[in-house]
Structure formats: C-alpha cells, structure tokens
Symmetry: C2
Subunit: 142 residues, 2 copies
C-alpha cells in the first residue's frame, strides 16, 4: 500500500519538537486550531475533521497515531512522526501509511502534509505556525 513520506529539519532539540506533537497547545499552533482531547498514549485527539488515537508516544523519539474517525480514505490509516537528531537539528521523518489506493485525495493530502510540517517547523523555530484555517492554501477554494 502506498505511503505519504516527508522529512523536515528543525533547528531545535528533539524534546522541544516532541512537545509540539504531544500537547494540545502545540498541535493547535501548527495543524488545526480546533484541536482538543487526550494526547497521552491510549487517548484520542480530536482535530475537528478527524480523530486520532495515540498508539505510541515515546518522549523525544516518536509519536504514532491511528485515524479512528475522519475522511473515509483516512479511516484506519496510521501517522508516524519519528524524531532523529543529527547535523545540529532534529529531523522529523513523517509517514502517513495504510492508504488503500493512491486516489487524487492522497495526492492532495501529501502536499498538504508538507505544508503542515513546514508550519510545525516554523512554529517550533519562530513561534509562527499556520494551523488551519490559517494554513497555506494549495488550490483555489480550499
């Protein structure tokens, strides 16, 4: 099954990047301002348009979610953020796995994840995230 893969490097310690992934306050500043819920392992985070169950959250190392509600193509898919400190920064190796078919919506989501990961970078480095609905648009009428 095809996966969405991305990588960005963030000029911050892994512990700081991790906080942006495992706190409601962090997630609200780079993905969607509507975020609420429980970010600890076993909890469910509500992002408005989807809900993610937290499968794993290992401090400074990785975060692993499973989509338990949302767009039909997302249901049962898994999102992983792996943090890798090297070259004086923290790289995020991102994977959104479990897509059944490479539909047009998957193309859209791939580009959109890149935009949000750069929003995450800008939030952690400069306090300037662009969470939805203030996110960079990638087509008209978005």
């Amino acid at each position: 099954m095809p996966d969405i893969l991305h990588r960005v490097g963030i000029n911050a310690k892994a512990a700081k990047v991790y906080q942006a992934l495992v706190t409601i306050g962090g997630l609200r500043h780079w993905w969607t301002i509507e975020t609420k819920g429980i970010t600890q392992k076993g909890g469910v985070i509500d992002f408005g348009f989807c809900r993610m169950k937290v499968r794993e959250a290992k401090p400074g190392k990785w975060v692993h979610w499973e989509c338990v509600q949302g767009p039909v193509e997302w249901q049962g898919t898994e999102v992983t953020f792996r943090l890798v400190p090297k070259q004086g920064q923290t790289f995020i190796l991102f994977k959104h796995a479990g897509w059944k078919v490479p539909v047009e919506f998957m193309h859209h989501c791939s580009t959109k994840w890149a935009v949000f990961l750069l929003s995450l970078r800008d939030w952690v480095e400069r306090g300037e995230g662009r969470p939805a609905p203030y996110d960079l648009k990638i087509h008209l009428g978005n």
Copy 2:
C-alpha cells in the same frame, strides 16, 4: 514500489501551466535556474544535479520525464505532471515513480517536490517562483 504523489491547483489555463513545464524559460523560474537542454519529446533536459529525458509531452495534458542521470536513487525513476482543468483552475497531479526503497532521501524529496510545485504555482499565477538555489529550505544547511 513507493511513489511520491502531490496535487496543487493553479489559477490559470492548462495551456499556460503546460508552458512552465515544457520551456527552458519556464523551468528555470520554478525548479532550478541552471536548466538547459531540449524540452521536446525525446530530448534531454539538464537540471544541473540531474538530467531528464522527455518521454511524453502532450500539450495541455501531461509531461512525462525519465531520469537518465542524477542521484543514484533517482536513476530510472519517472516524473509525471498530469494537468486536470476543473473547479475554475488547473490541477497538477504529480507523480515521481519508480523508487526502489523508501529511503530517507525519498522522504526529503517528497517534501521538496511539494515546495517546488508551490513555486511552480506562484510562478504561473504571480511571476514569483523560487527556483533553486533560491528555494524554500526544509532543513538547516540545505
């Protein structure tokens, strides 16, 4: 084999988007300023760090390249830009196919393609592309 997929919508006619993909002047304004070579079917375009053979170029519809020289992970891979007019804009459905394994460099290139497709969008819509080496950086030391 895993593919890199993306989609962006551009506020322009397909014919105009197509010109940005099949002319040296266009390619130089959104991907890399070093571009030279032959952009017609059968030609080879030299982007400096890689060379792409033009396998297909159907006006207003699609462009299909094969990497004939470049980073080892790119050799033999294929890049397709499919243009789809709908909802008052031209969508580009992008695919970089033929990766043998989802190495960390593939994660990097996926995010980088998103950045360059948005550079293409900004070039076509507003004359404001960001080709390498003026491209948006996605990690330190890039």
